[in-house]
């Protein structure tokens, strides 16, 4: 079982695509494997015949365990298969165990320079680079090495972001068919039905348990008048006409948030054990509901993108998130997150922070509410935004100041453009 994503510890073999006795070539898909993030393809790393399938469909095995044997036709496979040590979680270095012992000349897959560790290869990094990665919390799996053989060297880390863990329920590249859905609880007469956690749910559970518990959250709510924003949006969309996709409220909110963060660097930060990283760049994580879970693709440099660019990025990322085709680059590295349940008629809610970020805003529905304006009660479109703050990084006044700026921007959208 290979480590098909940086944080994968075990894989569930969903379906074999090759039969025992079938010929295989390097690169051909052997099976579909569900990882903590997505359904991915396990490919053959050698040419030969698939002699034996060791793991049954539906079984979950740790990374490093032997799942099959490829060899010359007629070759004997002994029962005991050496399992290479399983990958270590949380460290910068991963060992991907040898998946397929091969008798024929092994076509060793060259270790790709990005994220996924190939069979039998370990991350090549200079001792200095390893030390820097360790000290800054960078996951070496996510760094592209520019040295010989893909060696990660110091200069490769100078641009890399610190990752303590990937975003909740993040999805890696996959070309496989979608996972068969876990059955929705339907009454069968039995008092209950146990459905095992899918990989994505396991990851969400693990990630968020390390959020709400350890991170001291506090919450600030503000109600924003969205009349002007609504007018601006209508006007912009009329301008666009048939040319482009429409700009959504979410796009406006993401842009306003990014601009507000650029002015309130204190909220655009990561808590890092013994220091706080104040980001000078703004990358907004946008929570997207996917089947059976949640993922946060990142809109990079959201403060510098136009509304149209944000809209395009958001749409594209959301689409690929739902298809579980996001690359690690696309779901990690956000400096702040936005979660929007407005489309589900939620007035307001409190979101859980994505560690190591210091804050997240929860967007409710835009609703007509009676508001006092100039002495009379008038109906206005209003939006409730709730900010969750990590009190180790953001204090009440700091968070409130940011929210004030955000509110001002949304209430005076022309200032944003």
């Amino acid at each position: 079982m290979e480590a098909l994503s940086p944080t994968m510890e075990e894989g569930r073999l969903v379906k074999w695509t090759k039969q025992e006795g079938e010929g295989v070539k390097t690169g051909e898909t052997l099976a579909e494997v569900e990882t903590d993030k997505a359904v991915m393809e396990l490919v053959a790393r050698a040419d030969g015949q698939l002699l034996k399938r060791v793991v049954a469909e539906g079984a979950t095995v740790p990374v490093g365990n032997v799942v099959a044997y490829i060899g010359a036709p007629g070759e004997k496979v002994d029962g005991a298969a050496p399992s290479a040590p399983a990958a270590q979680a949380g460290s910068g270095k991963r060992e991907a165990g040898s998946v397929v012992p091969v008798a024929a000349p092994a076509a060793a897959a060259p270790a790709p320079a990005v994220a996924v560790a190939a069979e039998g290869s370990r991350i090549k990094a200079s001792p200095l680079a390893k030390r820097i990665a360790r000290e800054t919390g960078v996951d070496l799996n996510l760094v592209r090495g520019s040295g010989p053989g893909g060696r990660v060297v110091r200069r490769d880390l100078e641009g890399a972001r610190a990752q303590t863990a990937s975003a909740p329920a993040a999805v890696a590249a996959s070309r496989a068919a979608p996972v068969p859905r876990p059955a929705s609880p339907v009454s069968t007469g039995a008092p209950y039905e146990d459905i095992p956690l899918t990989q994505i749910r396991k990851t969400i559970a693990k990630r968020l348990a390390t959020s709400l518990g350890p991170v001291p959250h506090f919450f600030l709510t503000t109600e924003v008048d969205m009349e002007r924003a609504a007018e601006a949006r209508e006007a912009l969309n009329q301008e666009l006409g048939d040319q482009g996709k429409k700009i959504s409220f979410n796009d406006i909110i993401v842009k306003a948030t990014a601009l507000a963060l650029a002015r309130h660097r204190a909220c655009n930060a990561w808590f890092q054990d013994d220091h706080i990283r104040y980001w000078n760049e703004v990358h907004i994580g946008m929570a997207v509901a996917v089947e059976d879970g949640l993922i946060t693709p990142v809109i990079r440099h959201a403060d510098r993108k136009s509304l149209a660019e944000i809209g395009a990025a958001a749409r594209e990322l959301a689409q690929r998130a739902r298809e579980r085709r996001l690359t690690p680059d696309e779901y990690t590295g956000s400096t702040f997150s936005v979660s929007n349940l407005g489309m589900f008629d939620i007035d307001q809610f409190t979101a859980v922070i994505n560690p190591p970020e210091a804050g997240i805003i929860a967007i409710g529905s835009i609703v007509q509410r009676p508001v006092v304006v100039g002495g009379s009660v008038v109906p206005r479109r209003r939006l409730r935004i709730t900010m969750s703050c990590d009190h180790r990084v953001i204090d009440g006044a700091t968070g409130a100041a940011f929210l004030q700026t955000l509110k001002q921007m949304l209430e005076n959208p022309l200032a944003m453009l």
Partner: protein, 326 residues
């Protein structure tokens, strides 16, 4: 500060030490009447007489042995080899007698002897006359080995060597005798065991000594034009090595190239590399590379000889590799 030649710097050192201590004497081929095969001992016979400036027959093993005996008897001999290539013949006295005498006699027999002469290649001296001796001699416990690159270092190190109560090997160079440099007046000793930072930098450490210092400095100039600030560390002492200076520099730059004029296999540079990888492993961003003479007997042909020696281009190429610039 006066500017003098390396040759004159050695001459001054010999003269000053012989004036200072009547036990110091010079012995070797052509050191007296001929004024020195390379004129290093010019004027010394006239000043000090035949007892203290002794011309010998062509018998290296013999006069090295006489030197050992003289040292055991309380004198402070300076034994000159016309070139270190001829010292192959005297090795038994250097390695088995001089290096081990103090140890084997339980401290009873002192050995304050200096063996000196030009080392390594010159120009078209051919295979048998271009041998670099650093590795052979630095290997032996009981010997100290120094290799000054500049006139100031030559004078300071030779004085320190003569005053040292241990057998000290001084590796000079035919091609260095004519080089000029500033040498401070008066009594200035260069301590044995201390390297010298010939050029400050931050991107890569270039370790060198003796004749490789000049091409390494030229390489540093070329690298500067390419935006790389190379640091040049002249070892000066090969045994003992200035470990602190080497590790301090690599700690700053995180990468190193070691330049030497000997052959690669078991050369003196290998010792430096061992030190760096052993003590500065976590600080290294790249493997340590070496630039050495080509692993062949030195060619006689001018162009082949040039191709076989370390050069600024080779040092630049190695530096760029450890910087991942190629």
């Amino acid at each position: 500060m006066p500017t003098i030649t390396y040759r004159d710097a050695l001459n001054q050192a010999l003269r000053e030490e012989m004036q200072r201590d009547p036990n110091v004497f010079l012995m070797g081929e052509e050191v007296g009447v001929y004024q020195g095969a390379y004129k290093v001992s010019r004027g010394l016979l006239e000043e000090f007489g035949a007892q203290r400036v002794v011309d010998t027959p062509i018998a290296e093993l013999g006069f090295a042995g006489i030197g050992v005996g003289a040292a055991m008897g309380g004198l402070r001999p300076v034994i000159e080899f016309m070139t270190w290539n001829f010292a192959t013949l005297a090795l038994d006295q250097i390695v088995n007698s001089a290096a081990k005498m103090l140890y084997m006699s339980g401290g009873q027999f002192p050995m304050p002897i200096v063996f000196r002469g030009p080392n390594g290649a010159a120009l078209q001296l051919g295979a048998q006359h271009s041998q670099a001796w650093e590795s052979w001699l630095a290997h032996i416990p009981g010997l100290k080995v120094v290799a000054p690159a500049t006139p100031a270092d030559a004078k300071g190190l030779l004085k320190s060597a003569i005053r040292d109560n241990n057998p000290v090997i001084v590796l000079e160079g035919e091609m260095l005798y004519n080089t000029k440099g500033e040498v401070p007046d008066g009594e200035v000793l260069v301590p044995i065991g201390k390297a010298d930072l010939k050029r400050d930098g931050k991107d890569v450490t270039l370790v060198c000594h003796s004749k490789t210092v000049t091409p390494t400095l030229k390489a540093a100039d070329q690298l500067a034009e390419q935006g790389v600030a190379a640091e040049v560390l002249d070892l000066r002492s090969l045994r003992p090595l200035d470990e602190e200076a080497i590790l301090g520099s690599v700690g700053k730059t995180n990468r190193a190239v070691v330049v030497e004029e000997g052959w690669p296999h078991a050369g003196i540079g290998a010792q430096v590399v061992d030190l760096i990888q052993r003590e500065a492993f976590d600080l290294l961003d790249a493997p340590v590379l070496r630039v050495t003479q080509a692993d062949v007997p030195m060619p006689y042909n001018k162009l082949l000889e040039r191709a076989a020696k370390p050069s600024p281009d080779k040092v630049v190429a190695a530096a760029r590799r450890v910087l991942y610039l190629e």
